[in-house]
Symmetry: C2
Subunit: 381 residues, 2 copies
Amino acid sequence: MNDFKFEIKAEDKETNARCGVLNTPHGKIKTPVFMPVGTKATVKTLSPEELNDLGAQVILANTYHLYLRPGSDIVKRMGGLHKWMNWDKPILTDSGGFQVFSLAHKVKNKPLVKIKENGVEFKSHIDGSTHFFSPESAMRIQEELGADIIMAFDECSPAYAARQYTKEAMERTHNWAKLCKTEWEKLQKDRKDQQALFPIIQGGIHKDLRIESTKFMVDLDLPGIAIGGLAVGETKDEMYNILDSINPYLPIQKPRYLMGVGTPEDLLEAIAHGIDMFDCVMATRNARHGSFWTCNGRNTIKNAEFKFEDTPLMEKCKCYSCKNYTASYVRHLIMEKEMFGQRLLTIHNLHFLTDLMEKSRDHIKKGTFDSFKKRFLKRYL
Amino acid sequence: MNDFKFEIKAEDKETNARCGVLNTPHGKIKTPVFMPVGTKATVKTLSPEELNDLGAQVILANTYHLYLRPGSDIVKRMGGLHKWMNWDKPILTDSGGFQVFSLAHKVKNKPLVKIKENGVEFKSHIDGSTHFFSPESAMRIQEELGADIIMAFDECSPAYAARQYTKEAMERTHNWAKLCKTEWEKLQKDRKDQQALFPIIQGGIHKDLRIESTKFMVDLDLPGIAIGGLAVGETKDEMYNILDSINPYLPIQKPRYLMGVGTPEDLLEAIAHGIDMFDCVMATRNARHGSFWTCNGRNTIKNAEFKFEDTPLMEKCKCYSCKNYTASYVRHLIMEKEMFGQRLLTIHNLHFLTDLMEKSRDHIKKGTFDSFKKRFLKRYL
């Protein structure tokens, strides 16, 4: 997989932070990187040009949603995700596993999924129709979508599931990861643009299971490695303890992706724990509800104080929204449920994270990441 | 009012169509022109840059809505509409009259307005609070908003109101227009950027009333003149008959604005009847519901035929949406209620109208407007 060479450019001496470049068929990704989430092949409210301008290097799309609608066959027929959504930089698709389980957990505790050894039967959250995801079908669907990085099919058990259940789910995930690898190798033969497969470490909040899972996934020798099943209800300390415990077993030369994280403070902490890649809906979802980040913490534009505020959302911010509009105008748009207000806050929040990642990369290179992180958190928290 | 000089560049020989340039403190407007509607100081879903790119020369904002929220005092404090919404081209605000009456007519036939000789008492559609609009307050609010073109306060009576009622409403509108003129002249003295006041011709579907109203408004000798109370339920023939009947009384050298029109076919017909300026929410509202215009008529993206359509919404269209996306992708976004889909259709529909106006201007100059119009309508209808 020379298409996905990962070059480490600098390693921090005081923390486990590193900074690198991941090559893909659609360009290089500088890490640490935050990936905006475009669930249904669109990062809600934004155009590809806006994503590019705010510093997005790679975006994520959801296999589960695109499989149900419009169908991955249609996306393939239209030339694949990149062409269809007019985004020529890297894309990552998840495996659908997380959505299958999280949507099932959502419907009045009534399980909509049947977990079998060879996959998961589930009912669509849209029309209740029955579907089946297997490791093999997750690979085939993601091949049709055509992202640069695809994820192995996994079972994400709840943070506080019984240890025995967590262990069984992890073992299923291991078995599925092997099957994914076999199917993926087969599918790549016919492709022009190669896809990198990342397996997903599971094991809940149990250190020994996490280490076992890490060793298993590392042995598969795939182009990258992901950590799933965190930021799903456990405490922050539990999350960082897990990251500490698996760190010695992770190969230096492969990109590490912590799924579903997160907030500015979590990103910085996780970078210090050796993580290279992140995604989370919070930046975009919060924006649509009027919430935005500044160096001084999280704020909400609905606060009456912003009614007469003729300065931008954040001083010195270089995003399109802050360069061109006052908080007063953004507040008016959000109060009136105007979509342009949601766009402006989405741009700001995503830029806040891409900018934080850029600053982190610079400080890792300069050897000043730890003091940068402490300074940022002191002001932010 | 030298700031608002209107220069006629060409007059069609076969129809009453004309083509001109209206000067404003924020730049020139080439007519015939379609003005996108930005009710709450934002053309729904779009940025100012997108409006500019799709060919918008001037946009409209609504006095009624902005008076209620956030309040015209806030807009003034923030530097006026242009600065606040980051749009440096011309803006027109309506007087609030139409909204006061149309919102009142909407609430279960229970009148929320009390019409008095000196103005209208109405209840906010948002919180039921009581407000009063007078000719003077409509001028003061529009001065605070700071648009280039402002409208006289008028009563827009329903198309099929009794003749006697229509006559009384028209006479009130005449009286109010005079009061508006006096207040407007006073307010302009303290302004750097002057505002042009347009009075609004009323008179329902009655030719004699319309002619009487036209004569009255022309006598006020204001920088432009508007025709209100059309496209509110009367037939198309009735509308064009009214335009025909008042045409001889309208001065050549002043811009004529037909309020609330409309569709591509109505725009072309009205241009042939001597109209220079238009606004309508249809282009933007229809877009948000999945409806779009092409040279072959109106279509809806929800049609199953577009599922696999790998061509743009319209062949040869030069709008951003058609240059970059397939109908298949736009359909997916609209079906999933994704805002970016609403943006793409809004851009397309508005571009369709600005492009139609540009073509009309070219054909009027070349003396081929009538055949262009016939050719367009033959294919479109």
